[in-house]
Point group: C2
Chain length 462, copies 2
């Protein structure tokens, strides 16, 4: 006997067994349906690219985590570590073959040699969607409405999308004379969730002095409701300005979309008025939109609105979908201006949340009817039954060989198959096929393949 | 201005623009639906594995093409170059968590540093399906029926699945005293398509002598019809044996499945008799099953039936789906016996064939209704319209900002959007929304969001 190689996967990598893969595919299929319903189109880019393309600016924490090596042609290559950088390269390269505004989604794997002690995987799927080539409020609203629509479809309970505007915050910093301390203030505010208000206050006092610190803390504390918070931020940032106008426009579009349940466009307008002092209900009922001036989304990249999304029943897992507006997507690769807005869904977090909330489907397979193998010589008849059943639109498989019935039933149970056909010698003599409902042990019978398939279909409520 | 990095992809890699990606996704969705209808479940494995696991036996042509490098932990790792080796490792590792027979499909990317001059890509998608843990004829038949069902669903014209049996061929070689020349004979026969009968005859004469060469050429020449070819092979290989029985059993099961259009199981039996002297029609009408003793599928790995599939209108592109039965899937990683049967679909070839045959959908997007942006201040109304339209089950997007109508119509045309809503100042005054059918310029109108959405739906025949 030759030496056996120990079957194992690399640290930080994992196999998806059928139950897990079915769950993941179901999630992706729902998201994809929603992306398409908002007019987004799919693209794909290579997993492997020139390191220079992916790492552009060089340096930083990301670099160390990148899988980078020399290929057969001695090229310096790397596995993509996100979908944003390849998308920027893609747009720079193909903008003349495409059209603007360009709405794309991309669901694909990325690789990072991260520390696995933090429960992170080194290969995981990202799920990005962006609208590029326009700076319109309507696109900001679209991204928020799509997040709402997608999460609602996942049936994951109520959730809150928090939105803020980078530009408005900068205006505020200017009014308190702290413009030059922008990064430090953002970094401190970004820690609010982790370290609490008191610690943030301490850091801010040290960075910008007591008076300014108090003003910042006031600014980042929302009022009760979108409109009153917006009015406060507008006041603290020097009055009505394009950035506060942008937030108002987004809010109005989201409200109008919400109200579209109603019969007429006029009533949509009314509804919007009524709602002006409360939380904004998103169109898909369990979602809310909140103006939260403490949302920062890190320091770089975003230049306009930023947003993140938390599940109300599981705030501790952090944001399951975040994003924002950027001025220039592809400035590393082209002089062409490509403003845009986009978001990324955290698939692994969502899958984990679905599991904790008991919302997973726990599906072991797709088979709806198992044709039991009872008579050795009946193979052709079993195939005829399966074929007729598939023609009726059901998923059907033939147990491949005669085994003890207990073993075949155990197989059906393991795969979660609800129905079975029984056709043995005695049934053949009587000219019937028996349909067994494995969920309640009830039996039905019919005398032809198409008739038993019709019964099976009815049994499954199809 | 900073230096611009030239946007480009690595040689042998490619971007999928929306049209191409939509086409690929449509193909994958059809295949996936068919896999599921036959009871197959999806799995996934890591892209990156220990080189030792992937390259096991070492040496060979494949090794040179593998993307292999040292990771951050100085591990010797490689990108998978097929889905078979990872599946073998997967089964060895998880067989006790799973169940047998195990029917899985796996559609995922693999990487090979192949010579791109031959029009090959270095990153491509593979699509494998296998039934592991049984040596039953029923599973062989299942794989053939699934190929038939999947290709028929792609609407790619008529096709022919050619089947042969390795064991039967070996029996024949024994009867002519050429058992020790098996590999040489197989290698020569494998060249039949490329070099023609005369050249194969020349090679065979040189390898095994004139008399044996003539006998091989006779053996590999099919008769007219499955049954008569089988009878001939059986005679030439020393009479009825388990391998010819296996071919007969597969043939009977496929025939029975084909005949399942008919009302009763009895008539299925009759049909089968009638067909015994002609080509086997596969259940999905355009497909045929042919017993072709010249099919070899290379030298290694397969131990029982082998098969390949050609499109009748494009035989020159070679097999679009091939496979066979193997005795041991995972013998490198476990002492447990795991016999199985499986096939792989050549996605790139299928996509190329669809294109040549003019069978591609040429779809540029999913959007069914574009809400035109006419009045700057109507953003909320446009979102309300879009929301109502999505609620009606249509894909709808809002053009994000006021631009010349010509530009917006051009956008709709580029994305293949069939319908548009027009709601400008004059429509608002009249209290209507206009639905424009962009395919024939016809216009309809309604006075509420839900009413216009209903009209749009009707217009699309939904």
């Amino acid at each position: 006997m030759p030496d056996i190689i120990q079957a194992r996967v690399l640290k930080g990598f994992r196999d998806y067994l059928p139950e897990a893969e079915i769950e993941r595919k179901a999630l992706l299929e729902i998201l994809e349906r929603k992306f398409r319903s908002f007019g987004f189109v799919p693209i794909d880019t290579p997993s492997l690219e020139y390191a220079e393309i992916l790492l552009g600016k060089g340096g930083g924490e990301t670099d160390k985590q990148v899988y980078r090596f020399r290929d057969h042609g001695d090229r310096d290559v790397a596995l993509r570590f996100d979908l944003t950088v390849p998308f920027a390269r893609f747009m720079a390269e193909h903008v003349d073959e495409l059209y603007l505004p360009f709405r794309r989604y991309h669901m694909a794997k990325v690789w990072r040699g991260e520390n696995t002690q933090r429960g992170r995987y080194r290969e995981f799927m990202q799920c990005d969607f962006d609208i590029v080539g326009t700076d319109a409020a309507s696109s900001d609203a679209d991204i928020i409405l799509l997040i709402d629509s997608a999460l609602a479809a996942l049936d994951i309970g109520s959730f809150t999308i928090r939105i803020n505007h980078r530009g408005l915050f900068n205006r505020f910093l200017a009014t308190i004379g702290a413009s030059d301390k922008g990064p430090e203030v953002l970094r401190a505010v970004d820690k609010l969730d982790k370290v609490g208000t008191l610690e943030v206050e301490r850091i801010l006092r040290a960075e910008i002095g007591d008076e300014a610190a108090i003003k910042v803390l006031d600014y980042i504390t929302p009022e009760n409701g979108f409109a009153s918070t917006l009015a406060k931020l507008e006041r603290l940032s020097g009055g009505k300005n394009p950035d506060s106008d942008r937030l108002r426009a987004i809010w109005e579009e989201v409200c109008a979309s919400s109200a579209a349940n109603d019969e007429t466009l006029e009533s949509a307008g009314q509804k919007q008025e009524e709602k002006s002092s409360i939380l904004v209900e998103l169109p898909a009922k369990p979602g809310k939109l909140v103006l939260d001036p403490s949302i920062t989304r890190g320091l770089d990249y975003y230049t306009g609105v930023v947003f993140e999304t938390r599940l109300d029943e599981m705030t501790e897992i952090g944001s399951v979908c975040g994003g924002g507006r950027y001025n220039e997507l592809a400035s590393l690769y082209t002089t062409r201006k490509l403003p845009g807005v986009g978001a990324a869904i955290g698939l692994d977090r969502l899958l984990a949340a679905l599991e904790v909330l008991g919302k997973t489907k726990g599906r072991a397979g797709y088979t709806e009817v198992l044709v039991l193998a009872i008579e050795e010589s009946f193979g052709p008849r079993y195939q005829a039954l399966a074929s007729a059943t598939r023609k009726a639109g059901l998923s059907c498989e033939v147990y491949p060989e005669k085994k003890k019935l207990g073993q075949q039933f155990a197989y059906a149970e393991r795969k979660g198959i609800p129905l079975a056909y029984i056709l043995g010698g005695s049934e053949a003599e009587k000219g019937i096929i028996v349909l067994k409902d494995l969920r309640n042990r009830e039996s039905l019978e019919a005398s032809s393949a198409s008739a038993i398939a019709a019964l099976a279909k009815e049994r499954l409520g199809k």
